[in-house]
Structure formats: C-alpha cells, structure tokens
C-alpha cells in the first residue's frame, strides 16, 4: 500500500493480434493486456495488482478506428476516448456515446484510455459499460482458436469481471447504427468533475414519425455490482408516446431494477436509487428535446 512504483514484470509488445493471442494462450491468468493503461497502471503503481506478464498491444497496427459498416458503428478496441470525442460522426450521430466520453475522466486521460480497455476493465463506476448496454452493443472477441461475438448484456457479469476467457481479447466494439430519429443522453452525478459516478444513467431512444417510442435503451451505472440494463423500463416504453408521466413511470421502473449499496461516509443506497430515477428522467428529457419532443 501507499506505493507508486510498480512491481517488476515481463514485458511483451506483440506486433499483431495473432501474436497477442498466442501470448495470452500461453500465460492465461498470468498475463494482462496493456491498452491505454489508465486504470491498469494506477493499480500496478499502488501494487494493488501486480501481473507477472504485461502484453502491450499499443504497437499493433489497425486496432484503432471508427467506422460505420454492415449496420454497425465499429470501434477498434484500441481507439482512444479522445478519438471519439473529436469524431464528427460520433458527435453528430451517437450523442449518448459522445456525452459519456465528455464526462469520462479528464481530457488528458482521454488521450490515452481506450474503449476496449474500459469495457474489459468493467469498473462499476465507469461510463462505458452502461452506455454499451443502452446501445445493445456487441463485442468481437478473439482467441487463438476461435472468434465470437458477445452481446453487452452477456459481457458485463460482475464488478471488474467480464465474460472474457483468460485467453481471449476484445478486438472490436459494435454499436448498431442508429435510426434517423434517434437521440440519447448520458447523465452522470459525480462528486467532482472527472470522478467516478455516484450514479449514472445512459439513455438511447428512437422515435417514429408520430412521436411514438420505437427503440429504447436504458442502463444505469454505479448502482449495482456492474452496470444494469433497465430492460423492464425499456419494455414499458416501447410503443408509447413520450410524455412526462410516461417517462417518470419508466424512470421509476428503471430505478427499481437497481441494487445499489451505501458508500461508507458517502451516499446511501436510498439516495442512489432516487438518483437513478431522477437522472433517467433527465436523460430522457435531454434526449427527447434533441428530437423535438418536450416533456
């Protein structure tokens, strides 16, 4: 404890995904992938985590990209947060993702931290797990012997735990391309700018030409052991016309799906549950306003 000098480790800097997968297969739980390292290196400095082998994937070409293709927004695992922040495509078409990135850590950390690293680290207080759940994102995962696609809902299984096997790595994040009348918003309550969320709510919503809710994604951060998809609230809303009462009800349903615990000397579970509702309501309010619906 109290240290800021990491323990020794063996360092590998593979030049390809295949080479990485070979190393992963060899070391399994004794290895850790270093992507942006903005969580990993902190843990290593404090010696809360001291992996024997570090596999640095930063020297692999072709793992950083943002493109729409085959009905998906495809994001390379090594894409930095700031690449998303300064992407016109993300800013104009993926407001939920954009807002969540703007509220992720700080501008300097965003230059280094990666989307792949964020989802794999699966910190319950971090931004992207809930965003991925709200978008119904998928992750393209590879191991030496196979590749598979894991849905976000199946991926985030517990605090700092994912469905990844020890020999697998995420190579791509896939978010379904959003419909024309789509919007979204990310509301994060934090102690201070750049801090982890006290509670966060991610909302992605599409409406039809008559103003009825066509697609809805809601997920909440920091109110359970991992990000929580508010599927009951989503179901409740589909096909309904968005008004204040409906959204309030949905926010309440979403809040009921959360399972927060009280923070010592900090916010109570009761507060967090209440905030889940308030923030979800506000996220909808902001998102709907962008598609011309006032509630």
């Amino acid at each position: 404890m109290f240290i800021m000098y990491p323990a020794q480790f063996n360092y590998f800097a593979p030049k390809s995904v295949d080479e990485t997968l070979e190393l992963l297969d060899k070391f399994r739980d004794d290895a850790k992938i270093l992507a942006g390292g903005q969580s990993l290196i902190i843990l290593m400095k404090l010696r809360l985590f001291s992996p024997k082998n570090i596999i640095d994937i930063n020297k692999i070409p072709g793992l950083s990209y943002i493109k729409e293709e085959e009905g998906y927004l495809k994001i390379g695992a090594l894409t930095r947060y700031s690449d998303l922040e300064y992407s016109d495509l993300i800013k104009s078409r993926y407001p939920l993702l954009y807002e969540s990135i703007k509220h992720l850590a700080d501008p300097i950390v965003r230059n280094v931290g990666t989307v792949g690293g964020n989802v794999c680290h699966n910190d319950p207080g971090n931004n992207l797990p809930s965003v991925m759940l709200a978008y119904n994102a998928e992750f393209l995962v590879k191991s030496i012997s196979k590749q598979r696609v894991i849905k976000a809902i199946d991926f985030f299984i517990g605090p700092y735990q994912t469905a990844l096997q020890s020999n697998e790595m995420v190579v791509e994040i896939r978010i379904p391309v959003q419909e024309p009348k789509n919007s979204g918003a990310y509301m994060k309550l934090e102690r201070r700018a750049g801090d982890f969320a006290i509670v966060a709510s991610a909302v992605n919503v599409s409406i039809d030409d008559n103003g009825y809710l066509k697609k809805v994604g809601i997920a909440l951060g920091a109110v359970g052991s991992t990000a929580i998809k508010a599927d009951k609230a989503e179901e409740f809303l589909i096909g309904k016309k968005a008004d204040k009462e409906v959204i309030k009800k949905a926010s309440e349903i979403a809040s009921e799906q959360t399972n927060p615990s009280s923070t010592p000397f900090g916010p109570s579970a009761e507060y967090k549950k209440a905030m889940a509702k308030v923030l979800t309501f506000r996220a909808f309010k902001n998102a709907l306003r962008k598609v011309g619906v006032e509630i």
Binding site: Y5, D106, P264, P267
Partner: protein, 787 residues
C-alpha cells in the same frame, strides 16, 4: 474580475505596483528547484513500511527477505533509533512524537521500518518484503470517546488521552449576560478533518559529510531555522554544523512546518552510511501520514437582546490532535488564536474552553492557511451570528451592521483580550452588498421561494489576526517570533537581501523587492531576494500564518530605512553639505533647494565602499530582527449566492463577491492571487474535502482519487474588491492577506446553503455539503423533486 496586463519587473516599483513576479521565469521554463529535483552523486533512496493498523503492538519485524534483495543497502527500525536517542523527538508544542515505533503503532499509515536502497523502485520492493507481525489493539478515533474513562489509551508514554485544557475570557460575566439575555442561540458545528494537499509531497535529502562533520538537509520546510535548532538539540550536532536548505517549495499552507519522521530518518541514515539519502513521500503516503488540519468539534452559544444586540458568546471545543500534539502554534497558545472568535462584533463578554484529545489518527492540527485556528473561530462566530439573525427574523446583513465594532472604537480591546489595531467592517460589508446587489437578490429569493425554488444568500464578515508576533506573547520552542531581513547593497548598487522566511508560492522575491525598491529607489531587477538557507540567511521563524508581510516585510522596511539613514550621511559627504540639509526622494539625494544637483542611491553605494565619509564605517547594509508591536487585523466581507437542485441536492455557487481589507497593498496582483487561491481551497472545504476514519481507524480520503480537490470545472468565478484600512503600527501600513479567504469564506458558503433551506426548518449542516446530505434533508422536509 480580470487581471490587467502586468508590468515587467524592470525599474523602480514600490508599493501598489502590479508587476510580474520575478521568480516566475524559472518555473515557466521548468527550471524550478524542488527537493526531488536535486540529485547528488552516490545518492540512495529511503522508503517506509507503514502500519496497516491504527493501534497495534509490534510483535516482531522480519527483515531477512528484504535484506538479501539486490540493491538494498540498509534497513532501519525504531530499536536502532532508540539507541541513538532518535526514536522519539520533541514536537513544537512541547509534546513528543515517534520517529519510528519501538513497541506499538498509533495510527494507520504510521512509519514502522525504513529501507534504504539504490533506487526508489527497489526501496519499495524491499519494503513490501518486510514482515511485521502485529497484535491489533482497540483503537479510538473519536475524541469525545477518547476522553472517557473507558477509552483505550493512545500513547505508550501517557496514562490519559487528554492533551490540554485551555480557556480564555470571563466566565462569570459571560454566564451573567447569558442569564439576562432575551435570546440564546446554541449550535454544534463539526469542522471536519482536512489535508492541506499542497501539490508537492513532502521530502528531504540528507547529506552528511564525514570529513567536515557537516549535515546538510534539503527539506520541504516552511521554517528551516527553527527546524535546524530542533535538529541540533535532538542530535547534539552543533547548530553551525547543520545546514537546512528549503529550496523551491510546491505549496505549504502550514503542512510543511511540521518535522516529519522522514526528515529525521534520512538524516540518521546519511550519517550512518556516509551517503546522501533522499526520501520523497508518495501522495498517498503524504495524505495518510502528514499533518492534518481542523478536526474541531465546536459547541457555540450566543446571547442577544430581542433587537439583535449581541451580548455574550460562549464556546466549547473538543479538538482532535491525533496521536501526537503536533500543532504548529506559538507555544503559549494550545488552541492557537481561537480566542479571536468574538470576530468583528462588539461583544461585552465571552468565554472559550478548548479540550484537546489524543486519538489513533495521524498528528497535526496544523495551521492550514488559518493563522492558528482562526478559520475555526471565524466559522463559529459567523455561523452563530447568521443563525441568530434567522432566529430573530432579522436580515443577516442588518444584524451584522448593528453589532460591528464601529471604526471610532479602534484600537479595540476584545472581550477575549486582543487589541484590534484597525478596522472598518461596515464599509467592507456595504461595499460587498452594493457590488452583488444584495437587496435585489433578497427580492429574487422571495419570489423564487414562492415558486418552490431554493436559493440562498450567505454573508461572512470576518476578522483575521495575523503577523505573529509580539515577543511577550509569541514564541516557538522558546524562540521569540521576530522576523529578520538583511539587505546588502554592493558597490555597483546591486542588492542581495536575505530573509528568515521561506515562500511556498507567495511571491516573496517580488514583494520584498518592491518594499526595498519603494524605500531605496533601486530598480526591482537589481534586487535579489534569498530565503530558505540557514547557512546564509538570518535567523527567522518562517512563513506561515500570514506573517511574512507583517513581520519580514516590516523588517525589510526597517532595514531599508537604516540603510537610508547611513546613505544620507554619505550623500551629505558627497554633496559637501550638512546631513540635515539633505533631501531624499525616490533614490536621489540632493541639498535642499537644489534638486538638479543630486546623487543617486547607486552613487552613494559606490561611495560607501570607495569614499566613505570620515568616521563612518565602509559598506552599505543593514539587518533587522523585527519584533512587531501588535498583530495586524485584516478583515473583509464575503457574500455568496447559491442555487440548490431539488432533484439531486447539488449546490451551485452562482456568484461570490469578496471584499478584502489588508491595509496598504504591496502588489495588488499577488494579493488577488492569494485571495482567489484561498477562496478555492475553502470552496473545497465547504463542498468537497474531508478525511474520515472508521472506528477501526481506517482512513477514507487518503489519496487524490478520494480526497476531492476542486478542479477548474466546479470552481466558481470569484469577484474581488477592496477597502483599505492601513495598519497603524506596521511600517508600511500593510497586513497579511494570504489566509483571509480561508478564514472568511467557509461560513459564507454554509450560511448561503442554510439560508436557502431555513424556511424548511434547517438550522445547520456540517461541511462538506455533499449533495446526498442536502437531498436527505430535503427528503425529510418533503421538498425533494423527482425530476
């Protein structure tokens, strides 16, 4: 407010000039010289093993594995220090503290074993291999419990947790007035435990030269001279063979007055090994083991007449000092200058009692930008006055105006014994009210309240007490709290001036140069200011508690005037006139009536060495050890406006006006900088910062990931203004300013928030005002929104 374009520090710039700081260039180019920037040949590194327990017996220490690690040079335990009499050292408050424990640990994060290795990584590798076997003991972390009979005893060398009992004022008279009063308001306040959180963690490099027997220590110290004396007394090394250098310091705020175990162990290790030993605390180590601030449990009562006239004040405090009484107060003041708690008000009688307790927490109680417990005092009185106003249904501004000490009453003797040098409190408050549009805001608040919106306005009209201090009252370990300034003018008119203070960002290299430039008319670029080297600088007590300008600034002025006296004699000699006929004006001397035929201060300087008048010593220099006749009493009025989000409990500081009066100003840009910095720190205090301990003594808030220093995003935009009431006794009419805003503003923030909620039945909320606390209150009062 915006800063104007400042002038370059070239030419003669005296009082009131907005010049750029002389010290800045090295920092801007990355050429500052902080302790960790210094690298000596053969230097090795020290790391500590620290206690995971708040209270535990040390059963055994196994260093075998660590010893064999390549690169490890030495391992030092408390038992080893005990043999050389260094396991314990005295604190500045007459207590003693452990350097390394021999038998038991008394707080979590305490240094237990030191490792010396070739580099830092290896030192920490070795530290993590040292096995310490503990037998946990029951800890006590609540000072009230610590004072109960049944409490575990923190200290192995004491049989009580009571540190001191201190009181001031007239109890009988106070009690009598309380009985006669129409209204009595009483309220408990907890001023939470804080850390100063300077940006540069503490550290030292000790270098013992076995040939000369000289020990040089580079140290993050705000008070190097006193530390040298203490070191000499403890180690028996002659004081002239100890040199302490405080190089550039990355913020101090009171936290770098304390003597830390790392300083002592690095010195011991260097003497033992004959090599330079560097110790630099990591941030988390620093947060968990260096001196804390506040942790004051205050119970205040105020008695008044129905019309709002304040009669008397009664305050009881339980102060938590952690394991060692390590405050950096003047010796006679166990509770610092808390007795300034009658504040800006004409109060007939007051009584204060402070009881100090040991707990299983790190020591400190240091003066965090607070001039020795003045923040706690100002907070208590300004909260009490505000509650009184609300109870009486009076406007808080009007109640204050009614009770201020009127300007004609200065010098004013307070009920608790201080003689305030000067003040015009109503002028400052009225200026702040005008600037912020106070009555319009009250109107807006009324309208908003009708709509169910929560808006609050908070005032704080504080009085500071700085510039310790007069020798009859103030000393640290027996050394009188004078301050020194030595000015030397060389033959070519260039100046080196040396001081016993040590800036940590306050800009002494500029302000002191301006003082000298003001009096001697020498361009500021020709004046070099040096501080922080005990071998070269005159003895001084250091920089803290806003004392540098009131004491060292005055010393500089007196030294400059001494030089001027001699310069006049030399000028008379050069101008072949009588001394009494010499007129001095801004660096020039001439004979009365002939201003065109003059000698400059530079001419005089040259003559001082080349052509001194008969009977007068050569040279042009002076040294002063200034004993201030009184403290200075800066003051101000702050007004804060907040809006509260009923959905989340979040508070937004919409507007904040600060009107400060620190007497005559040397450099307005630097003064404003100090105020804005201190306001931001207090914004952190009010809303974000706290260190907590659970009952097992585990810390919460012990790293920068957990201790929430404000960023630029939430920090409000400050609006500053001034009134000027010169100090009648300071040679320049100046007062200290560095801490005014930390003293004055916490109450303004809390008063604003309580003002927003008073109609719901809220009297007080302890800091920090986290949104979840506010929301909980709103919920209880049925005022939350679910939108």
């Amino acid at each position: 407010m915006t800063v104007e374009i400042t002038e370059e520090p070239k030419g003669v710039h005296g009082m009131g000039h907005k010049i750029r700081r002389k010290e800045d260039i090295r920092f801007l180019l990355g050429k500052g010289n902080y302790v960790d920037d210094i690298k000596l040949p053969g230097m090795v590194y020290l790391a500590f093993v620290r206690s995971p327990y708040a209270h535990a017996k040390i059963k055994s220490i196994n260093v075998e594995k660590a010893k064999t690690l390549p690169g490890v040079i030495d391992i030092i335990t408390g038992k080893e220090l005990e043999k050389v009499g260094l396991a314990w050292i005295p604190t500045l408050m007459g207590d003693k503290m452990m350097v390394l424990p021999t038998d038991k640990v008394v707080y979590q994060g305490q240094e237990v074993v030191a490792v010396i290795a070739e580099d830092r990584y290896k030192a920490y590798d070795a530290a993590s291999l040292i096995e310490v076997e503990y037998e946990p003991l029951e800890p006590v972390t609540d000072p009230k419990k610590a004072l109960e009979q049944s409490s575990p005893i923190v200290r192995p060398d004491k049989n009580t947790n009571l540190v001191f009992k201190w009181e001031a004022g007239n109890k009988e008279e106070t009690d009598k007035l309380f009985k006669e009063a129409d209204v009595v308001v009483s309220q408990g306040f907890y001023y939470q435990r804080l850390h100063v959180a300077y940006m540069e963690p503490v550290g030292s490099i000790a270098h013992y030269d076995p040939v000369s027997g000289k020990l040089t220590i580079w140290m993050t110290s705000q008070a190097p001279h006193v530390v040298r004396t203490v070191f000499s007394l403890v180690t028996k090394i002659p004081e002239n063979k100890i040199r302490i250098i405080s190089p550039d310091i990355g913020g101090g705020f009171g936290g770098k007055v304390y003597v830390y175990p790392g300083y002592v162990v690095s010195a011991h290790a260097s003497i033992k090994l004959g090599r330079p030993v560097k110790w630099i605390a990591t941030r988390s180590e620093d947060m968990r083991s260096t001196a804390f601030a506040r942790d004051y449990h205050i119970h205040g009562e105020i008695a008044a007449k129905k019309d709002g006239t304040i009669l008397a004040l009664r305050i009881k405090v339980i102060s938590d000092h952690g394991a060692f009484f390590g405050d950096a107060n003047p010796s006679k003041f166990s509770a610092g200058l808390f007795s300034i708690c009658t504040g800006s008000y004409d109060i007939k009688a007051a009584h204060v009692e402070v009881v100090g307790a040991h707990t299983n927490k790190p020591p400190g109680g240091i003066a965090y930008r607070c001039s020795f417990r003045v923040t706690e005092a100002a907070y208590a009185i300004e909260r009490l006055v505000d509650i009184l106003a609300h109870e009486l249904g009076m406007d808080p501004a009007e109640l204050r105006l009614k009770n201020f000490i009127p300007p004609e009453k200065f010098p004013y003797k307070s009920a608790l014994g201080w003689t305030y040098d000067s003040g015009n409190y109503a002028a400052a408050l009225k200026k702040a009210m005008d600037k912020i549009g106070y009555w319009e805001l009250r109107k807006e608040q009324e309208e908003k309240r009708k709509r169910g919106e929560l808006m609050g306005i908070g005032i704080s009209s504080f009085t500071e007490i700085v510039g310790a201090g007069p020798a009859d009252l103030f000393d640290i370990v027996g050394i009188k709290m004078f301050e020194s300034a030595e000015i030397r003018i060389h033959p070519t008119g260039k100046v080196i001036a040396r001081f016993g203070t040590r800036a940590q960002g306050q800009g002494h290299e500029t302000t002191y140069a301006q003082i000298i430039s003001e009096i001697l008319g020498i361009p500021v670029e020709d004046i070099i200011i040096e501080e922080g080297d005990t071998d070269t600088c005159p003895y001084g007590l250091g920089t803290y508690a806003s004392r540098s300008t009131p004491t060292a600034g005055a010393a500089a002025a007196v030294s400059a005037k001494k030089i001027l006296d001699k310069a006049k004699k030399i000028a008379a000699h050069l101008l072949e006139a009588r001394e009494e006929d010499i007129v001095y004006e801004k660096g020039r001397f001439y004979v009365k009536g002939s201003p065109d035929k003059f000698k400059t201060i530079q001419d005089v300087a040259l003559a001082a060495y080349t052509n001194p008048p008969p009977g007068i010593e050569a040279g042009l220099e002076a040294i002063t050890y200034y004993n201030p006749p009184n403290m200075t009493f800066p003051f101000g009025s702050y007004i804060c406006v907040v809006d509260i989000d009923k959905g989340t409990g979040q508070i937004k500081v919409r507007k904040f006006v600060a009107v400060d009066d620190c007497g005559n100003i040397i450099n307005p840009v630097i003064v404003d900088g100090q105020i804005m910095g201190a306001l931001t720190m207090s914004f952190g205090t009010a809303f974000l910062e706290e260190i907590r301990y659970d009952e097992n003594g585990n810390i919460y808030g012990g790293s920068f990931a957990e201790y929430m220093i404000p960023t630029a995003i939430e920090t409000p935009k400050w609006e500053l203004d001034k009134t000027i009431t010169p100090s009648p006794h300071h040679p320049l009419g100046a007062k200290g300013v560095d801490e005014s805003a930390t003293v004055g503003s916490p109450a303004a923030f809390v008063n604003a928030v309580v003002d927003a909620l008073w109609h719901l039945g809220v009297r007080h909320i302890d800091m920090p005002l986290w949104p979840w606390k506010i929301w909980q209150i709103l919920k209880e009062k049925g005022a939350v929104s679910d939108e």
